[in-house]
Assembly symmetry: D2
Homo-oligomer: 352 residues x 4
């Protein structure tokens, strides 16, 4: 798949600090051009602040008991034995740690959320193994007749968009923001902060009227392209394409834009991160290996912010269609890093 590179994208995170070039694997040329434009605008404006607000991943096994009363007692027992469950979980993994547990009771059924930290791995398999061990321990020790249990009762949000993940987080929850001076909004986006916000508001209500989870423009584009390039689990696009994107005019007349991604499931070790091209892509951002997952999450979120700024600007400015006509898919597929940088002074950017 063709690989484009956007940047420089200046990120001012807790972990990611400085200019980054972000690889995006996609067959859609207009997309790379659009994210690139947003990135350069952010950089020109001094960079995006990004903060990883929470970091955990869950498995939610389901237990079937005799009755509601047994279910309630079972949950009380789990709570009373939580420290022991943590110990059991830690025997299965070097990196994963069971941090929290909470239960949903539905009559004689119990869904138990086991929330883990998994260091720099996305961790879906790690938490499966740990949860299996915990469940086996529970089955042996809990003084209740447990008819059956299922390792995942479809409540974890794994590979699917849910309101629960939007609200409680899954993987990394990351927020990013930038203040774009009015003159840069004009120079890069060909619009004004007021028009930008007018459209952003209409788009927010478009989300509401369509029953979206959160409200955003096209998080999925950045996520799919970066996930493919960097050896992530691409199916997680199915759960991560939710969250919020928001804009306001500042008292000074500049443009404030922020995105919050509640469920960004990514890793810098494990999965496909060890494959050669994928490792190279991660290295381009100094995000390969241990100790890099939050940095990677911050960069992704800043790139997502860049994409929201660019698409909202293009639609607010009225040239979204024209930009897509110019950047046909075929042309775009050849876009590479040097290309993108040469483009900066070229005329085509006047449209996107």
């Amino acid at each position: 798949m063709p690989l484009g590179i956007i940047g420089p994208l200046f990120v001012n995170g807790d972990y990611a600090k400085g200019e980054f070039y972000v690889p995006m694997a996609t067959t859609e040329g207009a997309l790379v051009a659009s994210y690139d434009r947003g990135s350069r605008l952010i950089s020109e404006a001094g960079g995006a602040r990004a903060i990883c607000l929470s970091d955990s991943i869950c498995r939610v096994p389901g237990f079937i008991l005799d009755s509601l009363l047994e279910a309630a007692k079972f949950v009380a027992w789990l709570n009373a034995n939580f420290e022991a469950l943590k110990d059991v979980a830690s025997t299965t993994t070097r990196c994963g740690r069971l941090q929290e547990m909470h239960a949903t009771i539905d009559g004689n059924r119990v869904y138990v959320h086991f929330e883990f930290t998994t260091k720099d791995a996305a961790g879906q398999n790690m938490v499966t193994f740990a949860t299996e061990a915990v469940c086996e321990h529970v089955i042996r020790r809990a003084p209740f007749k447990i008819h059956r249990y299922f390792i995942e009762a479809n409540m974890s949000g794994d590979k699917k968009p849910t309101q629960l993940s939007q609200q409680m987080g899954r993987g990394k929850t990351v927020s990013a923001e930038v203040v774009l001076p009015r003159r840069l909004v004009s120079r890069f986006l060909y619009t004004t902060p007021e028009h930008f916000v007018e459209y952003a508001d209409m788009a927010t209500f478009g989300s509401i009227h369509s029953g979206a989870i959160g409200t955003q423009g096209h998080f999925a584009n950045a996520l799919a392209a970066i996930f493919i390039a960097c050896g992530q689990d691409v199916a997680c696009v199915g759960e991560a394409a939710t969250g919020t994107s928001r804009a306001q005019v500042t008292p000074e007349g500049d443009l404030y834009v922020t995105v919050t991604m509640p469920n960004l499931v990514i890793g810098t070790v494990g999965g496909g991160t060890h494959l050669p091209t994928q490792t190279e892509c991660l290295r381009m951002m100094d995000c390969a290996g241990e100790g890099k997952a939050r940095k990677f999450a911050e960069i992704i979120t800043a790139a997502v912010l860049a994409g929201e700024i660019s698409i909202v600007g293009a639609i607010a400015g009225g040239y979204f269609t024209k930009a897509h006509q110019l950047y046909g898919r075929k042309a775009g597929t050849k876009r590479k890093r040097t290309h993108v940088q040469d483009d900066r002074t070229s005329k085509e950017y006047q449209f996107i």
Copy 2:
């Protein structure tokens, strides 16, 4: 990215008829093994019925008028002039046809859904261009003061999961089903129809408790892997990972399983379908080029059904975790077609 191939997958669709081998690009080995198992089970059971229930894609521009009254009159005017709008749309595209229009009024704002057919293209760009032409026509001709319009007011469901797409469809809406004889459930899935359904029901309520859109297990896995292999817009995983998956025990004691995918946005022309490997992958299923989109949609849906059967079976049967332990990611990446077929008699399938 490593490419696995699953099959044979016997599909009895309106367009797809016979055995298919389906390419999946993924770094997760257990996934290919799991879909393969489901496919072979479906084939052994006589194949999956698949039907494309609807087929259209929309753009939803937004218009800002003076007032609610003007908005209501504007919508009446649009309805009265729909034939002219269809003509305008058809001037921009050889394949796209504007079929339906309906409006959502929110005070002085109007969201207009333009539903198009786009033949064998996914069609997002095609409908953008057509909608732009329609909007420009509307701006010139409608006897209303339209303050501003936006080519997409974030209500189309493009690249994002929404209840509206779940309910109204976006792209192809496809349903598939299969009846699995009890003895095959035992032989392939190591469980019974009753246990399968017991878990499926607990999983359905897991979806409900987590506020999912629809209820399903892991549509996203098949979609991401097939989309990458076949040159589709991978960001569309963000909108397609919704829908319903459902199981019941038949009066005869067999297992009925069905999936419905309301918003499968795919194409067999355009986008990344022309790239060499991607074309080859499409050709493997005789799905490259014109006249093949619905066939492709049916095969994808049957593959998704295979994946639901396999994962629900594994969790119901209690060996999901063990299967993931055996099929580590690294091992799985080498899985290729011959490999998969040789495996059929090997012991490792006893677990997944």
Copy 3:
């Protein structure tokens, strides 16, 4: 239950024209004061425009067929025989008319939406009877093996909030709007259009973050109080407390506020409308009996708008809490029409 009366509320609808006094049965005094304030503000500003955008109610029976293929053929048969189904429906009712039909297929199951107009009745029973007749006709005539059918397959949105009703409407869909001059915002609400909108935006995202259906403040308060007073089906508050509430500063610096209620199920005949007090309450607005349902819907929506304006103003202005402390429940319960009118010049309104 204590009865308060708010007004005058000036409505400029297609059916409701002029000043109205609206009865609200509630034990919460602050509520009546708040809606009253909003009503008088709207009236001072020239009144609220209200338009009934659509008007229908559905039953959604479910049919179980042999297979997906049979299901698809069954839906085609229904479409081909729609005129006959309309005739059957019309034999059961003088007022109800079957207007539209659309189906949702989920494997071997079919949900059929029958949309009716019901004149001035809420119509839930009327459409049940008509749908039963239609279903019996279908069972006799459709050349398919229909294993079972259920008169309502829980997809109509009856008595429950759903995204489908938010998007497609159920009962009356009504929108109302008003432009409030800046000086009136200051005089009545003790805030500015800018602060009002700043809070309204934060509240919109509060809705989004909490996974609401639509976004609004407290539609349910007006609905419950008016429904009780006017003999409506109070359980319908459970489905009607969704919709959108939206504010913007106009280019002139005034405040534009609009609400849209997608599923307002009300009637001016049938149900509890014939009870003595309830009839009197309807008569107070000239809304008793035939030919009045849309008028009543417009007035309700304008009252709902009044409530949104008042509460958003109170929270934006920072005196919401104080207002509730002043208007305790006990005091409020004695509030009657004359009382409210006397209050207009009193000091207590400075807080709410």
Copy 4:
């Protein structure tokens, strides 16, 4: 409004123990008959188990800070000062206790959930006053520039249905269950456990396809009728008409039915509970005054369960329509306690 009484309803709760007669104020006669039938069936089967799983209510003020970084620091400060905030809250109320706090960050905005217990009051006003005090304390003490704060940022779920309340609870979260012997299902419901569950499953997917919050039949009917009778805040029907209703056939061939109401906001002191008729209605269940709220919640949930059983039975059994034809609204309005008891042996119950 006419008052019907259902019962006896045998409840085996932690607080409610024994037979209860439950008052329902409604103009819909069929409704009282239906809930009555379900209650008597439950009682005949030995009663419904009910458990109050959680009990708290929140206010969610919103704070606007300078930046995302300030927002993150502010939340850390809140967490560090939580004990002091609890103390401040407790100065405003004798009954309310601040128990938990958690924050949602969206760029420079912070939504803070303050979860309170409120003893036997519904408590919305109590938590408003307490939260105001907490916020004023925060404004004075927090070393951050807080541009503005709003006492409620529309994320508490007050008076509106939300996924957040469905998942996290609001007010009382109560679950109830009953096992109905097969012969009683036949005698009271004229159907079998298998048919009951077949329809219940189709209804569950009807909820899913319509984008409901949770899945249930008509919680709102019981809630509206009991809330009116017992002086509750009827607008809370708008938030409480969500939750789950679920049925399964037991291994013994009997019928298990359970309901879970995640957000039941009720009180036995305050609000309209002191009004004469309302107090009398509460007293009929020994639920008036202090120490009775959880008991009342258990009884309500058991009544809701009765209603689900009755309506699902009527639709599964195919006589829902006929029952509504027999129990017209006018007839029903005269239904009173003695009436209901006399009815037990009468023929009309053969239909509902």
